[in-house]
Amino acid sequence: MSEKRTAITINGIVKEFSAGSQMIRVLHGIDAEIRSGELTYLVGESGSGKTTMISIIAGILYPTDGSVSVFGQDIYSLSDNDLVRFRLSNIGFIFQQYNLIPTLTAAENASVPLVAAGMKRDEAVERGRAMLDKLNIADQADKLPRQLSGGQQQRVAIARALVHEPRLVVCDEPTAALDAKSGRRVMDLLREVALAPERTVIIVTHDNRIFDLADRILVMEDGRITHDGTEMPDH
């Protein structure tokens, strides 16, 4: 069994948002370490700060204070352009509403990160198609998102998140828009395809139907981590 190394180190993360003349603190100095080779869940009620937390970890929201080190790189010490490049090379995103481009086929959607990185269209689409094959929807590769079911669209989104082989995959409520069966299937697939010794997968969810698939669960309440374990707390 390979050794699970620390992939992400979070130090004293504080995040405040302005609401008129007031500043509202949504994260209160969070410290955490997330390891590679694990499926880490970030769980909490609405407003607990989990989406803010995942946004900061993914390098798309600057913290008010604190630092985030991803694979040894303090990402918020990078310039804006370097941070964008870092995300492109190292992070895959899976969104709750998929956010696929409606006028591109499934294979083309899956190829977007490669195209953004400068790969030629044909090669990128071919690799997108291969990733769809891994996710067992190669037969849907030439269809537009509107021609696919919710579960199939989410699988295309997973293909897009993994096609450039990122070391970190962040997922925001990946099963929220799916029924129980489809959600379970998508999560099984995600675990099977995405999880690798050198890869970290963080999933924001409050879907208790899939808690059993987690290697580690971080529970957030009111901007603080209140539980860190392999299972959900009893209460």
């Binding site: 798309i60 352009n81 964008v84 995300r87 492109l88 995103f93 969104f95 956010n99 953004a116």
Partner: protein, 379 residues
């Protein structure tokens, strides 16, 4: 990323065609209206350009255009002929009259009396008949626009008798000329006939047409004529320009066409701006996702620029093509549009206007994309 941007745009057919319509409509309206405007005001110069033999026009100092002229005494002709540097000079009469057709219709016409001996002042290109026919009794030559106006299509007017200011006139030929600003029927006749057709005051001669001697420019000779006679002398180009300027200064045409062109621009900006904004709004989540994935703002700018460029190029092409078809078809089929052409400056100007429109609307659309925080895709 350009192909993704183009696919995002063209895949949403409703908005893509809406954008094309907005740009094409603007380009069509602007280029078509500007073409009509330019051709219309240039008709202030057709009376001058229809007489290619004369490079100098002499007139009373208060005369302004071929149709706004104070007649001169016959002695003025001798004065001009005596100016050193004048190769030849001949009289020209232009005056309004009314004509009654055999069917009894009444029509306002311009009677142009040309020099009896040389027929200088007569247009060169004949569609029917010949210059010599003008020597027949009561002969008039009608212009092509007038023939189309007075007679049904396919009718041969040669030999038709007209009642011109209560006198008999017989059409003996048709000349091909560009219509005047008012598209009024023009009847050419000999000067001596014109004096009879158009009775009036003691002074009857509207203009003196002249030519500069070899070795002298028209401009040099006009200066000499003015100094020697006190009459106003203009080169052909100057007098043609006077006719155009007169229309610009004395009619509401520039303002009216200006308003239409401005409306074309405003409506275009409104349609394109709104549709582009709707398109961006519908795709804002996708743009946010792209930004989160790692597409830089510069690449986003390039994507929106590619979309705007495509819409601009295709819309402009359609608009200009439709305008060209409209003008060409009008010029071929309607006497009112006879001789209409599209100067190269108009497509260029239209392209600049369309580019401005695209820049404004593209910039407005881009602002909302650039303002979108990638983190918003998680909300």
């Amino acid at each position: 990323m350009t192909w993704i941007a183009i696919r995002m745009l063209t895949g949403d057919r409703q908005k893509f065609f809406g954008l094309l319509f907005g740009v094409a409509f603007s380009a069509l309206l602007i280029s078509q209206q500007l073409t009509i405007f330019i051709n219309l005001i240039e008709r202030g110069a057709t009376a001058v350009y229809n007489i290619p033999t004369a490079n100098i026009w002499v007139m009373d100092p208060v005369s302004r255009t071929p149709d706004v002229a104070l007649p001169m005494p016959p002695t003025a002709l001798d004065k001009v002929r005596s100016v050193n540097g004048v190769e030849w000079a001949s009289p020209l009469l232009r005056s309004g009259a009314t004509v009654r057709t055999p069917e009894g219709d009444l029509e306002g016409v311009t009677v142009v009396g040309v020099d009896d001996a040389t027929l200088i002042g007569l247009p060169k290109k004949f569609i029917k008949g010949s210059r010599e026919a003008l020597y027949e009794p009561d002969a008039v030559i009608i212009d092509s626009v007038g023939a189309a106006k007075l007679f049904p299509e396919g009718f041969d007017p040669i030999g038709v008798r007209l009642e011109l200011n209560d006198r008999r006139a017989v059409i003996r030929g048709i000349v091909d000329v560009d219509p005047s600003f008012t598209s009024q029927v023009i009847l050419y006749t000999r000067y001596s006939n014109a004096l009879a057709f158009v009775p009036g005051t003691r002074n009857r001669m509207s203009f003196i047409l002249a030519s500069a001697s070899d070795g002298l420019t028209a401009k040099q000779v006009t200066t000499r004529i003015t100094e020697a006679t006190g009459l106003k002398a203009r080169t052909r180009e100057e007098f043609a320009r006077d006719g155009v300027d007169f229309i610009i200064e004395n009619t509401g045409i520039p303002v009216n066409f200006g308003i239409t062109v401005a409306l074309g621009f405003i409506v275009g900006v409104a349609i394109v701006g709104l549709t582009f904004s709707l398109f961006i709004r519908d795709n804002i989540k996708q743009f946010g996702a792209l930004k989160a994935i790692g597409v830089t703002n510069n690449k986003i700018r390039m994507m929106v620029a590619a979309q705007a460029l495509l819409v601009g190029l295709v819309g402009y092409g359609i608009g200009i093509l439709l305008a060209a078809i409209f003008i060409a078809s009008g010029a071929a089929n309607s006497p009112d549009f006879k001789g209409f052409y599209t100067p190269w400056e108009i497509p260029v100007l239209t392209a600049l206007v369309v580019m401005t429109m695209i820049l404004i609307t593209g910039w407005l659309a881009l602002r909302s994309v650039l303002k979108t925080e990638p983190a918003e895709v998680f909300r």
